[in-house]
Symmetry: C2
């Protein structure tokens, strides 16, 4: 089993890994926001924090084979990517304020923004300058999906259990046209979760449930 | 369409209604907690706030036919029930702090704790003294479910789309034995969502997705 290496890259792992990449259209890349008004001062980084919880935390534990990338496109220093790796992260708590403290400290710890890749700022947490392309730099032949109400139903999709996969989601503003074009160029498959447009964290919960079910049934 | 009446009871409605009852084993019934440390000072009311979001909010809107009851069993004045009705509630925001402000104001607005039923404290929000039995006082012949890892898989369960249903969930501490006995006596059917023990808000998201799918397919 691997985990985030000192250079911030994803280490070698055994077994499958899930990655969630959430695009924060206005989310603060600098960490300059107030903890007593996260939703009002951070470019809605609260939306992304809830995604971190949904992706990484289960009852009394952390999902080890899950990595979350927050693409922060708001404010000074944007774009930056903040990566949290369930395999090596510690002290993750579910409430928004605790997660905001973690994210803010991580963004401040590498305020210069390393130009040459991810910088590990605490166990399981790393930051780099860059956006979607940098988050997906190590995609290799991993299957890439983008949530899309016109995509294929996740329940009928073949072969997403038991293998590595990357899922890209938008925040409360959704995905912009440019991002959609880029994802299409990268070969992303559109994926639909249900008949109602739901929050990104709920989408992660629903998607995760489907993946959990498939993995439980896998030989 | 009905909604919460002035006496706090659930009004007459057309169509089906979903109700979620979440048991907060230690959650503050008095509203005496600090907004800058909700998770640390409220008996983990943050867990319940996340459930409110998952049950009631969708992308850019509120689910109208959903009611959430928070059963608050912690601190002075316990037990109390705080009810939020999507049909009539206003200004619901998704972040924990905003929801905490709403819940705190509601609990303070009726600090005496009316003994004779729900007291409406603001549009769509009401409070009463009492616990699970009081939350379920109007159950009538509505189907009652309790989340249980040994229950029937929600995906194979018949007839939960298109009808009224009440779902009871525990918080981070789960449901105590006494509550389980009481729910069994009330005829609650045990329901399983998947192979992994997930947070209550994720459970609501997964359950809601299943109900949304069934309603979309209903004639």
């Amino acid at each position: 089993m691997g985990g985030l290496r000192a250079d911030g890259k994803l280490g070698q792992r055994s077994g499958r890994m899930r990655r969630f990449v959430i695009i924060g259209q206005t989310a603060s890349a600098s960490g300059d926001f107030r903890l007593d008004d996260i939703a009002g001062t951070s470019g809605r980084i609260d939306v992304l924090l809830r995604c971190v919880r949904a992706a990484l935390l289960v009852s009394h534990g952390v999902r080890r084979a899950v990595v979350v990338d927050l693409v922060l496109r708001g404010g000074p220093g944007e774009p930056r990517v903040l990566r949290i790796d369930g395999d090596t992260s510690k002290f993750l708590r579910p409430d928004e304020r605790s997660l905001a403290v973690l994210v803010q400290k991580a963004l401040k710890a590498d305020a210069q923004g390393g130009r040459s890749g991810f910088v590990s700022v605490r166990p399981g947490v790393s930051v780099r300058t860059g956006g979607l392309d940098e988050a997906l730099a190590e995609i290799g032949d991993t299957r890439l999906f983008v949530l899309d109400p016109d995509g294929e139903d996740v329940r009928t999709l073949k072969d997403i259990g038991g293998t590595d996969a990357i899922f890209v989601l938008g925040d409360h503003l959704g995905l912009d046209a440019e991002t959609r074009v880029r994802l299409k160029a990268l070969g992303a498959s559109p994926l639909r979760l249900g008949p109602v447009a739901i929050h990104a964290d709920d989408a992660i919960a629903v998607l995760t449930n489907e993946l959990d079910r498939r993995e439980a049934q896998a030989p």
